[in-house]
């Protein structure tokens, strides 16, 4: 099992489909604890990613990750743009010396934490990326584990991002970026031949 440009494209297209289908739901999650734009931001971003991959078929994995990153950075418009963008940029860099999924996700997780300064428990997408990158390193990942990571953000009190301005009142709501990140991991395990 290995990552190729073809199955990476398939994975990203599956992610784009989920984001597009759940656009309204993601924005709804962002409404009580944010500015209500996460679904729109992400839908705009994944559309740009697909347009970029359609317009120019990447020569290799590094080029593919870079194209995905640049489309997200330039089109998302919210915090998730630089964060997802940095995740894919770090995968692009890492892919020059390893195409192991575990290595790529470890690099991406580190990149997100560096870019946003959040740690596990801060009620952000890091609460999905960190534990699930660790699962990938241990060799397996299930949908139940993805759900558990996403749901763990519900009771947390936000320390980073827009939700942090609400303090304790941010508790009791799922983090939208954690949910969209969950879709990325679900798309990953659903794509044949990667894991």
């Amino acid at each position: 099992m290995a990552l190729t440009v073809d199955n990476l494209t398939e994975w990203i297209n599956a992610f784009a489909q989920k984001v597009t289908d759940k656009k309204d739901y993601l924005s709804e999650l962002d409404t009580p604890i944010g500015d209500g734009d996460h679904g729109n931001n992400m839908a705009r971003g994944v559309k740009a990613v697909q347009e970029s991959l359609d317009a120019k078929a990447p020569a290799d994995l590094t080029a593919a990750f870079k194209q995905i990153a640049m489309a997200l950075i330039s089109k998302v418009g919210g915090a998730s743009g630089p964060l997802y963008g940095t995740a894919f940029l770090e995968m692009a860099k890492k892919s020059k010396d390893s195409t192991e999924i575990a290595d790529l996700f470890a690099a991406a997780d580190a990149g997100i934490k560096k870019r946003g300064g959040a740690q596990a428990g801060d009620k952000t997408m890091v609460d999905v990326w960190e534990p699930l990158a660790a699962k990938l390193a241990s060799g397996s990942l299930t949908q139940a584990e993805i759900d558990e990571a996403v749901n763990s953000t519900e009771e947390m009190i936000a320390k980073k991002g827009r939700a942090s301005y609400l303090g304790e009142r941010s508790s009791g709501h799922l983090d939208p970026g954690a949910m969209s990140s969950g879709y990325l991991f679900t798309a990953l395990i659903e794509t044949e031949g990667i894991l």
Binding site: D37, G77, G78, S80
Partner: protein, 122 residues
């Protein structure tokens, strides 16, 4: 070596409005801004920030921002810029106003930074 200021806000009107306050006290300080997304919606854009760095006549820039993603996009633009960019986690208006007034008076960077320290809020 000249020092300039770049303002980054989620809202195009805020980014365009703050310089009006600053130029009153700092007519000679190079001042550029980036507001909103590429489409002019509420958000921030790394491309617009890079453009604001390029357009600034100074080769060393003090950057001020409002919320979350503005800082992340600022840092990415900073990493890609040839200029020296300093980022301050101060209250946007007070920080930028303090820096503008002091730069106009020819105060050295180290002293400006000293004055900015108590304004750090994020």
């Amino acid at each position: 070596m000249t020092l300039g200021i770049t303002i980054v806000s989620h809202v195009p009107d805020i980014a365009a409005g703050l310089p009006k306050l600053l130029t009153q006290v700092a007519a000679d300080v190079p001042l550029t801004y980036a507001g909103g997304t590429d489409d002019g919606d509420i958000g921030t854009s790394m491309a617009k920030i890079s453009q604001a760095f390029d357009d600034n006549a100074a080769d060393e820039i003090l950057a001020f921002y409002d919320l979350g993603s503005a800082k992340m996009n600022l840092e990415m633009a900073q990493e890609m810029s040839d200029k020296t960019i300093h980022l301050y986690d101060t209250a946007l208006i007070e920080g930028a106003y303090t820096a503008a007034s002091l730069l106009e008076a020819g105060v050295p960077l180290a002293d400006v930074e000293e004055q900015l320290k108590p304004l750090k809020i994020k």
